[in-house]
């Protein structure tokens, strides 16, 4: 394969990114983290879920956005419209909904004085209303959060006025996925790992294939070492306005384990709608903290998502979701459980690295990250980040 033999190919394609080392300070500086809250997480579109999470009128979920110091309620109204609100009562700002998800039947009642809201966020009930001074219930609904939907993914924007619509923000990524049948795949498994790592350390560690033959030598022995591509060079890299995708091809030389071979035969669930893939495996980073991973399957493709939620400069939550074509038989489900199981082993290895990387960075023994050509997507991520932050080149440092 051409990819494997041509050295430093991507930096020739994207010369504007340079080739120098990248400062590591962004992953360990508390000052940087405080600025990130405003300059990144209130200025970008954040994925908080999918429409499939709340299929029926009144269904809701709550997202604790610690990085923006708020809790968000996303709810499907009686009119079928999905809306986002600050999860805060209009009376004296109590946290309104405490459950992670549920269905609003009638009204959502505040735990403090039981003000009630309907699924459209309107204030519908105030106990002892007559004793208040001229309150207008129609003006006291929940505070809306800018919310939009792209291919079934729900995004919120916490800035006062988004500079770009969601579609403009997604740019070429929106083009790439136009009409992708994500909705035909079902979310089957969701995991959360709370990590002692900066959210970017965790994301950067996932955002390359260079480590696969080495760090995952136990969970996928030999799998990533190809005769004509020993170091698993990428088959594709595409950099967008804020986002990036890289791809790899599968190793056709590798022999499956006995269980793997049988599972390949059982893996027949299909939606009859392939995903728009660039390689056999695509890793789309949607800035700042959302990832879509597409996998070429035998009969059909499946996908995963990651969300990296910052908690503190050195803590984050890594949220992992699997989406497969609906399984109709035990054999189909079993083959999906098998894929999930193998991938989860890899991710449990990854989580260790996130924390050992953070520990190393925190020691300040090194000031910079050294990146090779197949890590150009990490380079671009830090460039996009710096464009928002203006930390190293001036603004407020």
């Amino acid at each position: 394969m051409q990819t494997a033999t041509e050295n430093r190919r991507w930096s020739k394609e994207y010369p504007e990114l340079g080739t120098g080392p990248v400062p590591a300070e962004s992953c360990i500086s508390p000052e940087y983290f405080e600025l990130e809250r405003e300059r990144v997480f209130r200025r970008t579109w954040l994925n908080v879920g999918r429409v499939d999470d709340i299929p029926n009128a009144g269904d809701f979920f709550v997202r604790e956005l610690a990085v923006c110091k708020t809790s968000i309620l996303v709810i499907r109204g009686k009119d079928g419209v999905i809306r986002g609100f600050h999860n805060v009562c209009s009376h004296r700002s109590n946290k309104l909904v405490w459950e992670e998800r549920g269905t609003c039947r009638g009204a959502l009642a505040c735990h403090f004085h039981s003000w009630g809201y309907n699924a459209q966020g309107q204030l519908t009930g105030v106990p002892d209303e007559e004793n208040f001074h001229d309150i207008d219930k129609s003006k006291l609904g929940l505070t809306p959060v800018t919310t939009d939907i792209w291919e079934g993914f729900i995004f919120v924007h916490l800035g006062a006025q988004p500079q770009e619509t969601l579609t403009d923000y997604l740019g070429g990524v929106a083009e790439q996925f136009k009409g992708a049948a994500f909705h035909k795949r079902t979310r089957t498994h969701t995991y959360k790992v709370e990590e002692n790592a900066n959210w970017k350390v965790a994301l950067d560690a996932q955002n390359e294939a260079y480590h696969l033959p080495f760090q995952h030598r136990y969970s996928f022995p030999g799998m990533f070492v190809l005769k004509d591509n020993r170091y698993l060079r990428l088959s594709g890299v595409k950099l967008y306005n804020h986002h990036a995708v890289w791809s790899t091809t599968y190793n056709s030389e590798s022999t499956p384990t006995p269980t793997g071979a049988l599972m390949n035969q059982l893996n027949t669930a299909t939606t009859n709608s392939r995903l728009p893939m660039l390689g056999d495996f695509d890793f789309f980073v949607i800035f700042p903290n959302f990832v879509i991973l597409q996998f070429r399957g035998i009969e059909d493709d499946y996908y995963m998502t990651y969300n990296f939620w910052p908690l503190a400069v050195d803590r984050c939550i890594w949220e992992i979701k699997f989406h497969f074509p609906p399984a109709e038989t035990a054999g189909q489900r079993l083959s999906q459980e098998y894929l999930k199981h193998r991938i989860c082993d890899v991710l449990q290895e990854d989580a260790v690295a996130h924390e050992t990387l953070q520990a190393g960075l925190t020691s300040r023994a090194k000031t910079h990250l050294i990146l090779q050509d197949d890590e150009i997507q990490i380079r671009q991520f830090h460039k996009v980040l710096e464009d928002y932050m203006g930390f190293f080149n001036g603004r407020g440092h």
Binding site: T190, T329, A330, Q332, H341, D345, L347, Q348, V352
Partner: protein, 107 residues
């Protein structure tokens, strides 16, 4: 509650009935608390019959598995749970992984 016996052709799996666990959490805990000998014995009993077991289960739609097929299905899920331990690690645990309890299945 009396246990429904495993379907006729698969009664040799009765001694491994304690692997018929309905949730991923239980299956993972079972792997992590079992010795490699126990895991290997379970694998050796079920794997040679796995194709036949699945063929039996696949006569029903997944959401309409009859009661006597449920434990059999759960056994196959446990097999998937131990497959890497047997075929790759030769050890119940992954070598360089975070504590399993920290990798939380939430839904």
């Amino acid at each position: 509650m009396a246990e429904v016996p495993l379907p006729e052709p698969f009664q040799s799996l009765e001694p491994f009935r304690d692997w018929a666990l309905a949730t991923e959490r239980e299956r993972r805990a079972k792997r992590l608390s079992s010795s490699m000998e126990e895991i290997q014995a379970f694998y050796d009993a079920l794997f040679p019959q796995l194709e036949a077991v699945v063929a039996y289960l696949d006569r029903f739609p997944l959401d309409q598995l009859p009661e006597e097929a449920q434990p059999l299905y759960h056994l196959t899920l446990s097999l998937v749970e131990v497959t890497s331990a047997v075929e790759l690690y030769h050890h119940p645990h992954i070598f360089e992984a975070i504590e399993p309890a920290r990798f939380r299945r939430v839904e």
